[in-house]
Symmetry: C2
Subunit: 355 residues, 2 copies
Amino acid sequence: MARRNRSGDGLAGGAGRKPTIYDLARRSGASPSTVSAVLSGKATERRIKPATALAIEALAAELGYVPNLQARGLRRERSGLVGLIIATHEDRFFSSLSQSFDTRARRRGHCPVIASTLRNPEEEARVVRTLISYKIDALFIAGATDAEALREICAAARLPHVFIDLPSLGAPSVVTDNRLGAERLTRTLLRGAPVAASRLERPLFLGGVAGDFATVSRLDGFRKVCAEMGLAASDDQVLLCGYDPRRATATLEALCARLGGLPKALFINSLPVFEGVLRLFAALPDGAFTDIAIGCFDYDPFAAFLSFPVTMMRQDADGLVDRAYEVLDAGDFTPRLIAVEPRLIEPRTLYDHAS
Amino acid sequence: MARRNRSGDGLAGGAGRKPTIYDLARRSGASPSTVSAVLSGKATERRIKPATALAIEALAAELGYVPNLQARGLRRERSGLVGLIIATHEDRFFSSLSQSFDTRARRRGHCPVIASTLRNPEEEARVVRTLISYKIDALFIAGATDAEALREICAAARLPHVFIDLPSLGAPSVVTDNRLGAERLTRTLLRGAPVAASRLERPLFLGGVAGDFATVSRLDGFRKVCAEMGLAASDDQVLLCGYDPRRATATLEALCARLGGLPKALFINSLPVFEGVLRLFAALPDGAFTDIAIGCFDYDPFAAFLSFPVTMMRQDADGLVDRAYEVLDAGDFTPRLIAVEPRLIEPRTLYDHAS
DNA sequence: CGCGATTGCACAATCGATTGAGCAAAGCAG
DNA sequence: CTGCTTTGCTCAATCGATTGTGCAATCGCG
């Protein structure tokens, strides 16, 4: 006898529940394997007569059949899910990355799953393990604190993974050319500052984490250009307050108190830190920040039109995702760095896809 | 004989692949059902001796066991996945919504799946069907063009779904109080405009879609306040150019050409439209937009510090998601509207979670 | 007409978990 | 010691697909 008989004879059922291949098999007189072959595009390969295939497809359409991808994934050992870890959605760099990833994953017939972990290491590990439990086929990791821990978890699960703007020692990483970007950004910032060079003698670098690769590279670039221009760039001009807006506000506020005013040129490392800076500005009298010049590593279109000049370095989200997917496609997971150039966005200028 | 024997006797295997409950069963001497009971927290319910449970848990930890959630989902008919449809990640309203949703879903032990469909109706339908195929347990729909089509697809699949800021006739919807928000925003915009009232006689409403509920409500509010203040609000002051930045740029540009200049007060419906406005500004001489006042429905922190005053109406992302989840929890899917108040953000002011 | 190749399909195992049912052993009351 | 309940576990079916294998029926060729 048949193993399944949710609705008895061959005619019952209908709009009750989502139909399965077994339902279609009963109603079409074919076997489940034939139905499966047809509906998973293997009709030719499995030598199904075109007429049979057409009949089954028609029935499937009529009953509104959709495959159960959990069942398919279980059997095939491939789910079609692909993950992306970001720090937060509320950061235009990450949300652009998400958008690139979403579009590209879907274009390839994958289902993107984007997870934000707020740079919390335990949360990162927990989320990655959850995604592994869901049997994702690959994982992109963009905004994480403990890259190596995640790499190990992925490796143990034999999960193909690529780091984005976050190099790992043990896996391929697609990174923005942070050093080069920071150099250009610093140069533009210092040259374009609307004040006498003498007042620029102590440009400030705000945001990021000491151990963080992106921060280190950007700081390198910043220091190099300061040196070139004969400006000081001592340790007290570098405030690595992390990526939290609150801490950025507090840190900058403390510095202002110490210095008796805002710096005239400010290199901001990441958009959330920039938000923290604005939070401080909100508490200051209007005139206090008219003659400041800001350079921000990462781009937000609204920041281009602030009341003071803001130059930004935009990471190429599309490029990063494209390169990362190429690594996946090539299937070569030897550790290496793949660099992508960022682009300078001048004040009062918007990024344009076309150019 | 045993049905499975991937690694022969009870001792082989190890770091080879991800262990399953069958591996743990062999190595612990218990049966798969016992292992399953222990590892899915049903040890007491299924009367497993604490000692046995501890032994199995220890072994699971040692071997790095993680459950296969596809298999679990298949059996249980509940996947643990919950979906959210948004228009785009590159819009602070939607990314705040994503962040709220991400945090809250994870807090409840769900796995959030966020999909952007760029307001494309076919893509929306395709994505919803895909999510249904993955057997998501519930779906929140925030940025869609054809709400009713999606509702039908969900209903046919018996998928619990809640609309967010996008009312459907046939399902519960959590919406921002758009009319009220628009009234307040318009009032502030017109009162705070840095120019004589006479120059305000033709405030402009830019962005949105005629059939769209949010647009209609916001426009209502805008018109009402214009009327109150004795200002004209005729149809040629209302430019429903959709939500695409490009079209917004072109539309506003055409208007400027016709009027011979920018309007003095501009109600912008949605952040992407605002980006389009900025794109136009980028092409204008610097002085062209110093005496404009802008009100934007939706909030982006950077927009608070532009070189002209920008008042914004921030939708309460956390509140929207909380209310939507409450609908799910209550299990009452009768069509209804649940309103959430938005909040006015004055120029040079940032939104603060605490207050 | 006879025989091998091809066509077209069905059977049944399998993926990894969950769960109702059943059963032996232990505990306990009388 | 008998009979009943409780304890602690195992069995086997099941979720919905995929896929290796097998077997008739048909076709082609001489």
